[in-house]
């Protein structure tokens, strides 16, 4: 979490309360129910709103097929970290706000009848940051995919490592990457869908190790936060810098996929890679 990359208009929970919503990108007034039917993509301008893990799981999976595993793994606050508030207090607040215990949900699901193991990160939980629990769940998901000979799908959404867990969080980058190496050796398929944002410690570990890398339009993808880079080079950043389209242009993403097409695209790739 070297810098939470949040452009002015974007917040963790972007869709405000109320029956009508003004689109943060195009300003159009959208009826809330329509936005939900459109999978939280603006019907006028295709702006992809950030969504939480449960909404994503419901969108991706065949109805009622998702089975979560390791739901009750929680951080033990290894550093007894304290900034202006204690990490414990921060965790308690976030848990109460989100009803989640951590920044990722992992489990087994089905996409158009195809079984797979998946992990979905949650921007509402300390910016989807990776601490020991996220690292453990990613590694466990990779191992589950190996044991059950199923594809692994990771929907990434993260500001990076969770600094309140210090070095315990940094080493999760190595742990998750090692688990992905095992999956690779077993011949398993690994698909990543990068969503807004996929940066820092998560980008520089399991997110960028996929066999097939998809990204949602406009997603911020990169290592260093844009503000840090702007400070270093003492200049304004080029238009569209670190967006999904920029990463496609530079060869680091296979395809940019509209949210409504994710299910069929994932199913298609699974079929092509079926041995």
């Amino acid at each position: 979490m070297s810098e939470v990359p949040t452009p002015p208009a974007r917040r963790n929970v972007e869709v405000p309360e109320g029956l009508w919503i003004r689109c943060v990108q195009c300003g159009a007034m959208i009826y809330r129910r329509i936005l939900e039917e459109e999978l939280h993509v603006c019907p006028e301008c295709d702006y992809h709103y950030r969504i939480n893990a449960r909404a994503r799981i419901a969108q991706l999976n065949d109805p009622g097929t998702f089975e979560e595993f390791l739901p009750d793994l929680e951080s033990s606050d290894p550093l007894e970290f304290k900034d202006r508030i204690s990490y414990r207090e921060r965790l308690a607040q976030v848990k109460a706000q989100t009803g989640e215990t951590e920044a990722i949900v992992v489990g087994k699901g089905f996409i158009k009848g195809r079984p797979l193991i998946m992990g979905v990160m949650n921007p509402e939980f300390i910016m989807g940051s990776m601490g020991a629990v996220v690292g453990e769940k990613v590694a466990a998901a990779a191992e589950r995919a190996i044991n059950e000979s199923l594809p692994l799908l990771m929907v990434t959404c993260s500001g990076g490592a969770r600094m309140m867990e210090g070095m315990v969080s940094l080493v999760q980058m190595a742990k998750t990457s090692a688990a992905i190496a095992k999956l690779d050796e077993s011949g398993g398929l690994y698909i990543v869908v990068m969503t807004d944002p996929t940066t820092a410690g998560v980008a520089a570990s399991f997110a960028f190790l996929a066999d097939v890398t998809l990204a949602e339009p406009g997603a911020l993808i990169g290592f260093a936060g844009p503000r840090v880079i702007a400070n270093t080079i003492k200049a304004t950043l080029p238009e569209g810098f670190q967006r999904a389209e920029f990463m496609l242009e530079h060869g680091f993403v296979d395809r940019i996929v509209h949210r409504r097409d994710l299910r069929s695209e994932i199913a298609r790739i699974i079929d092509y890679c079926n041995k």
Partner: protein
């Protein structure tokens, strides 16, 4: 990532490189030098007793202050302008260093130096960050902040080493990977990720030591190893204290508080089970006695490689994976999914222990 332009210099005393907490020490050192010069100039005068007295005081002061450095002071010592750098260690302990350049894809990043060497009785592949000593070197090496080609060069040389069963020695000293437009365009995140993945399965022993700054992913990108150490006055952190303070305290002025909270000192990291060893430094830090520091580092490398080379390749790789796999600090609450769980207990049933003793292999 810390800004390299602010990351390299922790000196509070300008040209003389005296850290704030060392001011009285510096005064004594200066006085000893003055008296020695005086004695040399005026034959017949004997200051040796006075000098011996000051020396004694100096030793005591060094012991007192260096035994009790705060986390922030450790960071400052790790960044000390006179602290030995990779090239110094190469000069002091590597024999017959044969530098190998380039990543075969884009260029030759001066922030990461690689090459064959004879070190501590082993022939090894040496891989490390180079910060640069003078201004020209610093700019050339981007203050030790590597671009993607640096990580790709490191991997290419490490794969060469693995092919011929040459063990790998990684020496880490970086404020972080370079935060810049070109680094992003050339895929710095992917470059680090690939190193983490490939280092977890390279079939040759790897040891890694943080010799100065262990800055975040840029450090870890060459530090996945079978044995990991941090030198006594080095640090290893997920984020620079300044960066952490800017985000969590909304002000860089809280850097020393952040350094404390981040538990980035070698002794904390050892207690957390994240590193295997703290390599002792000479009294007053490596910058007071680079030879002494180099020999302590050499001894650790020599012993670690000797132990690791006894392992069968499959044991080595299994052990490396197990060590990575168990890194963590979490517990299983009894709450059902989606339900607000009970407050976590103080016990840490699954506190990971990263150090699988070599002796049991």
């Amino acid at each position: 990532m810390s800004n390299p332009s602010s990351g390299g210099n922790g000196s509070a005393g300008g040209m003389t490189h005296v850290l704030e907490f060392e001011k009285s020490i510096a005064k004594m050192e200066q006085e000893i030098r003055r008296l020695e010069a005086l004695q040399a100039a005026e034959s017949g005068k004997d200051y040796s007793e006075v000098i011996a007295g000051i020396r004694e005081q100096l030793q005591k002061a060094l012991k007192d202050s260096y035994a009790n450095l705060t986390a922030w002071e450790k960071v400052l010592v790790a960044r000390h302008p006179k602290r030995p750098l990779l090239r110094d260690y190469i000069r002091l302990i590597a024999k017959d260093f044969c530098e190998l350049h380039g990543d075969r894809l884009y260029g030759d990043d001066k922030a990461i130096v690689c090459g064959f060497a004879r070190l501590g009785g082993h022939r090894v592949m040496l891989v490390g960050h180079q910060k640069g000593r003078d201004t020209r070197e610093k700019i050339e090496a981007n203050f030790g902040c590597a671009h993607p080609e640096g990580y790709r060069k490191a991997l290419q040389k490490m794969q060469l080493a693995a092919k011929f069963n040459v063990p790998i020695v990684c020496l880490v000293d970086t404020p972080g990977a370079y935060p810049g437009v070109e680094a992003e365009e050339r895929g710095i995140a992917r470059a680090i990720a690939v190193n983490l993945m490939e280092m977890s399965r390279l079939g040759t022993p790897i040891v890694a030591a943080v010799i100065g700054e262990g800055g975040s992913g840029g450090a870890l990108g060459i530090a996945v190893a079978d044995q990991v150490a941090v030198m006594e006055h080095a640090y290893y952190s997920v984020i620079s204290p300044e960066g952490c303070a800017a985000i969590l305290w909304k002000s860089g002025e809280y850097a020393s508080r952040a350094a404390e909270s981040l538990r980035l000192t070698p002794s904390h990291l050892k207690k957390l089970g994240l590193i295997d060893e703290v390599i002792p430094e000479p009294l007053g830090g490596a910058h007071r006695d680079p030879e002494g520091a180099a020999h302590a580092l050499e001894a650790w490398i020599s012993k670690s490689l000797r132990d690791l080379r006894r392992l069968k390749p499959e044991t080595l790789l299994r052990r490396r994976y197990e060590r990575l796999r168990q890194l963590g600090a979490f517990f299983t609450s009894t709450a059902a999914p989606g339900v607000e769980p009970k407050a976590p207990s103080r016990s840490r049933p699954r506190r990971a222990k990263a150090t699988t003793p070599l002796a049991t292999e």
